[in-house]
């Protein structure tokens, strides 16, 4: 992806946005945003009044109507500009992505060559080194290094291989070495790259639930302001100081929440864009919003909280068994085990006892599965197994043996030190325990503290037993843990939390994570993960960094805070606008003598120059504040994990109180300029 343009306002984007502001004047587009539609309607009507007056030669006050019309048009254009600039950034990224979309031919396994765009799900293609991978798929044969920089922006190549959780490849990435046989997993036009382009362009943008609710509130307030302004005409007639239509329209536009109305869609687009900047692809705006609401975060222990590789540290035989014998059997059980843990056992046995890897005779490997939770080898009628304590005890019992009580003590001993005990058995005989050590990643404690301050509870998910899990949980500083987790218990945990009304987020990459990713409110799949996982989640993290969720939550919260802050600001502004416009309208109402100021002149606390300049200043402020706030709308109001009440107080002070005070100052300053210009 065209990585992170350094500034929000690059020259090209601004120029393009200005160009794009004009076609957006189309009333059919404006109708989607009732507030801005009213502003545009006001612009049309005031322009009409201006033209009519011009034709009739009605020159008194003509300039005033004209200037009001111009500023109302500018208000609409500023709103369009805000939206266009937010979209522009996405468009730039989309065109960079489009350039990588492959237009070449793909070679099917039978040698036929077909255009890449016509590949169907289930087709099997062969990709050689140096070629672009033509479609999303699963590697069914081969290992290769892939340059994924087109998608992730990360230049270092990654290894992709058949089988396991690293088998997914993305169309548009480049194979650097070797040869891969790939089964296509997506229909044409629905590839990851296609979806990514649509997302960053905002083509699929739908309003999120909170956005809809806010729109309703804004529309309600707008209708009420229309009533307040429309009724002012009869009220003014009763008071013998009629108000012109132009002035009423100016007042209406000043009062309705144009600031938030103008920036609302820009805030939403920019929120998605901020995620893309962090290399996260959200499949919907709804998911981004939901991430701000997350109450519980499920984290896999391995790879997220601890360094992926547990290392074998010692062999602990039960009495009557030589340590060397245990090491030998453990090594046998691990020879076919390509996991880091398995390899570390082989290495430890070699270091301690000089046991070499050797050829096995007639044998059959038993792979680890999440349900049996053990692995091993069957050779010469002997069953060798290693695995979790309870799983092995069950195995031994099935073989007609019984685990010695001592075994439990060994298992417990390892677990109490935070290690992972791996029981090794031969047939119905438990030989002892291998102590696997877990290493917690640095800086995790601080991260979890931060989450706690945000109000998010972290739950560590692990296949380890309770005691082991508890030690690591405490070391890492998580709030809770789920030990001896299987896909079923994980799913049950998510459903249980959801039934209590909590929002659950989780990260995952394996195919067995897919159901839980789909069930979670926010499911972040790692880009390195299987395509099943990526399909099931509602976000994909291109950096495959499980702690990225913290940033995602921040973006989700920022999105809401920015909307709330600008809504408050918008409404708070109205106080000053009243004090600018109402005394201007009714300066002479119920005056004691003709030509003298009436009682309401006392409300002119800003001491604005004259009525026309006062009204104009309020309208100009109302228009200028939109581009002024565009950077804030695009960057978002900063989220601080200082607790909800403190955060609210802070934002109320800045956007509520500040929103009340700022326009008094700004309108006064604008009036000084406008009034002097008029005077000259």
């Amino acid at each position: 992806m065209a990585r992170r343009s350094s500034s929000i306002f690059s020259r090209d984007i601004v120029l393009a946005a200005i160009r794009d502001s004009f076609p957006k004047l189309d009333p059919r587009l404006q109708l989607k945003n009732p507030v801005m539609f009213i502003v545009e309607l006001g612009s049309v009507i005031t322009t009409g009044i201006f033209l009519l007056d011009l034709v009739r030669g009605n020159t008194a006050g003509l300039w005033f109507v004209g200037v009001i019309a111009i500023w109302l048009w500018l208000t609409t254009l500023f709103a369009n500009f805000a939206e266009a600039i937010a979209e522009g950034r996405g468009k730039a990224q989309a065109s960079a992505l489009r350039a990588t979309r492959t237009t070449t031919n793909a070679t099917l396994r039978d040698g036929r060559s077909v255009p890449a765009a016509e590949l169907q799900r289930g087709d099997v293609v062969v990709v050689k080194a140096g070629e672009i991978i033509p479609a999303d798929g699963e590697i069914i044969e081969g290992v290769g290094s892939v340059d994924e920089s087109a998608i992730t922006g990360e230049s270092a190549p990654v290894i992709r291989e058949s089988g396991g959780d690293r088998s997914a490849v993305t169309g548009g990435t480049k194979l650097l070495s070797d040869q891969l046989v790939i089964e296509v997993t997506q229909e044409p036009g629905r590839s990851f790259l296609d979806r990514m382009i649509a997302l960053v362009e905002g083509a699929e943008r739908r309003k999120t639930p909170n956005e809809i609710a806010l729109n309703i509130l804004i529309a309600g307030l707008t209708i009420t302001f229309v009533a307040a302004v429309a009724t002012l005409r009869p009220f003014a007639i009763y008071a013998h100081t009629p108000v012109s239509l132009t002035v009423l329209i100016a007042l209406l536009v000043a009062l309705i929440p144009t600031t938030i109305g103008a920036l609302l869609s820009a805030i939403g687009i920019a929120g998605m864009d901020r995620l893309v900047q962090r290399n996260v692809l959200a499949m919907s705006g709804r998911a981004v919003e939901a991430s701000g609401d997350v109450d519980v975060l499920l984290l896999d222990k391995t790879g997220t909280i601890t360094l992926g590789n547990r290392q074998a540290a010692e062999f602990l035989p039960v009495s009557g068994v030589e340590e060397r014998e245990l090491a030998e059997v453990a090594q046998l059980a691990s020879l076919a085990d390509e996991t880091p843990e398995g390899r570390s056992i082989v290495v430890l046995a070699k270091e301690r006892f000089g046991l070499r890897e050797r050829e096995l005779g007639e044998h059959e490997f038993v792979a680890f599965s999440a349900t049996t939770r053990m692995s091993g080898v069957n050779m010469n009628g002997t069953l060798i197994r290693k695995g979790a304590g309870d799983a092995l005890k069950r195995f031994i019992a099935e073989q007609g043996g019984a685990a010695p009580a001592e075994l439990d003590r060994l298992v417990q001993g390892v677990a109490e030190q935070g290690g992972t005990p791996l029981v090794v058995a031969r047939d119905n005989w438990a030989l002892g325990v291998v102590h696997l050590k877990d290493i917690v990643k640095g800086g995790m404690n601080e991260r979890f503290d931060e989450l706690r301050r945000m109000g998010i509870r972290t739950v560590m998910i692990t296949g380890d037993n309770r005691v082991t899990a508890a030690v690591i949980a405490q070391e890492a500083g998580v709030d809770d843990f789920l030990a001896e987790a299987t896909p079923e218990t994980k799913m049950a945990l998510i459903k249980d939390e959801q039934a209590k009304g909590r929002m659950v987020a989780m990260t995952g990459d394996g195919t067995n994570d897919a159901p839980a990713l789909a069930q979670a409110d926010v499911g972040v799949a790692m880009n390195t993960g299987t395509s099943a996982a990526k399909e099931a989640g509602n976000m994909v993290d291109l950096d495959s960094n499980p702690t990225k969720l913290i940033e995602i939550v921040e973006v989700g919260k920022q999105l809401l805070i920015t909307r709330g802050a600008l809504t408050t600001f918008s409404i708070a502004n109205d106080v000053a606008k009243y004090f600018a416009i109402l005394p201007a309208l009714f300066a002479f109402t119920y005056a004691s003598a003709p030509g003298r100021h009436g009682p309401l002149e006392k409300l002119n606390i800003m001491q604005l120059g004259d009525p026309k300049s006062a009204i104009l200043s309020a309208v100009i402020f109302n228009a200028l504040i939109i581009p002024f706030l565009v950077p804030l709308a695009l960057k978002g109001v900063k989220y601080r994990a200082i607790g909800a009440t403190a955060l609210l107080r802070r934002n109320l002070a800045i956007y509520g109180l500040g929103g009340m005070i700022l326009p008094f100052v700004a309108i006064k300053l604008i009036d000084l300029v406008v009034h002097n210009l008029l005077g000259a």
């Binding site: 009869p234 109000g455 009304g501 919260k557 802050a565 809504t567 409404i571 708070a572 109402l582 109320l652």
Partner: protein, 562 residues
């Protein structure tokens, strides 16, 4: 303002809380009770229902509307036929149709706007069977609806809100009747008449014959105060010694105005298991209440420029309250009149012990704004709190956004549907009030209703529609009935009552089905002072911005004139 005045107001606040809190807890028990008393059982058999047969919000709303329509017909017909009915010792004739219709709307909607003088328009039968009975029933409807709405907030995954007939029966029989009987007995003891005899004739000192109207006054006064009705027996309401003989009755009637509206806040707190939150809602209401007194009491004490220029001695002295005593009772003085004016306009009561038309511009403006807030500062019986819930939801929505979480209230997520009903409930009435006032000040027959010229006349018209639209019923006076103003008023009262009422039930219905999530550190807490401040801000800003332009052309332009 005098130390005496402040002391009186403080005593009032303390006594109010001391009585309202236990009453609120009692009311919560009444509406949560699963026990059915024998007499209650008879009533349920009569209307063919039972507490087990609960209604969803639409069913509940349908029952309320049907029942209110029927009640309107009954009230209208009795007034039109009173000349042929019994208990009419003074031989009063049928009430004119536009007045009868307006009065029917007025009493069924708990407004008690009176386009007539009670003692010389209504027979005893009309006063009791049509009006006083509606003072119980309409208040009962309000409490019933509130109970249903609260259930929406407290229940999870349910679509039912309760049974209207059960709630109505319990509100009237277990809450309104006992309270009003107690108050009526005290009032009779203090000299308020309660009789079916016709008017009395007295010989004055000059030897002229004076007819003194009397009747079944005490009971009507009791329910008029307790049920936020406000429609008195006499035209001059609680300024008349027969309605309000002395300081003690004045104090008790004053407590009665806010008693149930304050108690229902505590009832809410108990029913939704959020008592601290309820105290914060109470605090927000009390803050706005105090603010209004803070404007009106000094304004009345200071008096108007005309008054000060007239040479009348308005300085405060021993036994003299000074200030603007125009249209005020010497027995009550400035503090008690300002306190009553604030209470009666904050609660949608509308009874008066002083003439609001003769308040100073700012004092009258404060009363007007109190009503314009939508009768949510304690507000009407039932309607006050469900009206406040609209504002609370808007406040919570804004707050939720600003702390970066989908807004939650009492653990329930607030979405588009809830905001739709809250916005409708909070914003409909102010919009309607402005529209009706606009019609009335530019049409010929509308202008005929206004007695005073200029800004004060405008305030009279604005006050009339604000009062009717918000179902307060307090009259500024100076606004007479024409067929246009009576019809506009009828529209205002019906829509002003039933649009928010239905919005509140719909809100309850939407929330009843929602799960309740436990709060986390990221949840904005509604049981702290920040919430109370925010709530006050939201009320002042939203309602304030709506009314401000109109206010400038009424009380403000009048008050700033010198």
């Amino acid at each position: 303002m005098s130390g005496n005045g402040i002391t009186q107001i403080l005593i009032y606040a303390i006594v109010l809380i001391a009585v309202a809190y236990p009453l609120g807890i009692y009311m919560a028990r009444v509406f949560e009770s699963r026990r059915v008393h024998v007499t209650e059982g008879w009533f349920y058999r009569l209307v063919r229902t039972s507490p087990e047969r609960e209604q969803d919000w639409k069913g509940y709303a349908k029952s309320v509307l049907l029942f209110s329509l029927l009640a309107s017909v009954v009230v209208y017909v009795i007034q039109r036929l009173q000349g042929h009915l019994f208990l009419n010792p003074d031989h009063l004739k049928a009430v004119p149709s536009h007045i009868a219709l307006n009065t029917a709307a007025s009493f069924v909607t708990n407004t008690n706007w009176q386009f007539y003088g009670g003692e010389y328009t209504m027979s005893y039968f009309s006063q009791m069977a049509a009006l006083a009975s509606q003072q119980y029933i309409s208040a009962g409807v309000g409490i019933a609806v509130l109970a249903a709405v609260i259930r929406g907030f407290s229940r999870r995954s349910s679509s039912e809100l309760g049974n209207f007939w059960v709630d109505l029966y319990r509100a009237i029989v277990y809450v309104l009747l006992p309270l009003s009987l107690i108050l009526a007995v005290i009032l009779v003891w203090q000299g308020v008449p309660q009789t079916f005899s016709g008017h009395a004739t007295a010989k004055t000192l000059e030897g002229a014959a004076q007819t003194i109207a009397r009747g079944p006054v005490a009971l009507m006064i009791a329910i008029k105060q307790l049920g936020t009705n406000g429609g008195g027996f006499y035209n001059s309401n609680s300024a008349v010694p027969f309605e309000n003989p002395n300081g003690l009755t004045n104090f008790l009637e004053l407590i009665s105005i806010l008693l149930i509206p304050a108690a229902q806040v505590f009832m809410f707190g108990k029913m939704v298991l959020a008592r601290r939150h309820a105290w914060m809602v109470f605090a927000a209401m009390f803050a706005v209440f105090a603010l209004a007194i803070g404007v009106s009491l000094p304004a009345e004490q200071h008096g108007s420029q005309v008054l000060r220029a007239s040479g009348v001695n308005i300085t405060q002295g021993h036994g003299q309250s000074g200030g603007n005593m125009s249209d005020k009772e010497v027995r009550f003085g400035i503090a008690n009149s300002a306190l009553w004016a604030t209470a009666t306009t904050d609660a949608s009561n509308g009874s008066v012990n002083a003439g609001h038309d003769a308040l100073t511009a700012f004092g009258g403006g404060a009363a007007l704004v109190n009503i314009f807030f939508g009768e949510v500062i304690f507000g009407g019986v039932g309607s006050g709190l469900y009206g406040m819930l609209f504002y609370i939801l808007i406040a919570v929505f804004i707050a939720g956004l600003m702390v970066g979480r989908t807004p939650e209230y009492l653990g329930k997520k607030i979405g588009a549907r809830e905001i739709k009903y809250a916005a409708l409930g909070a914003l409909f009435v102010p919009t309607m009030v402005l529209a009706l006032t606009a019609i009335s000040v530019v049409t010929k027959s509308g202008l005929a209703s206004i007695y005073n010229p200029g800004a004060h006349g405008f305030t009279e018209a604005l006050y009339a529609y604000t009062s009717q639209g918000n179902n307060n019923g307090s009259a500024f006076a100076g606004y007479g009935a024409t067929s246009l103003s009576a019809s506009l008023g009828t529209v205002a009262m019906y829509l002003g009552r039933f649009v928010p009422l239905i919005a509140a039930l719909a809100l309850g219905g939407a929330l009843a089905g929602k799960k309740t999530a436990p709060p986390s550190a990221g949840t904005f807490r509604t049981d702290g002072g920040t919430f109370a401040v925010l709530l006050v801000g939201v009320i002042l800003l939203t309602a304030g911005l709506m009314v401000f332009p109109a206010l400038t052309l009424g009380p403000l332009v009048e008050g700033l004139a010198h």
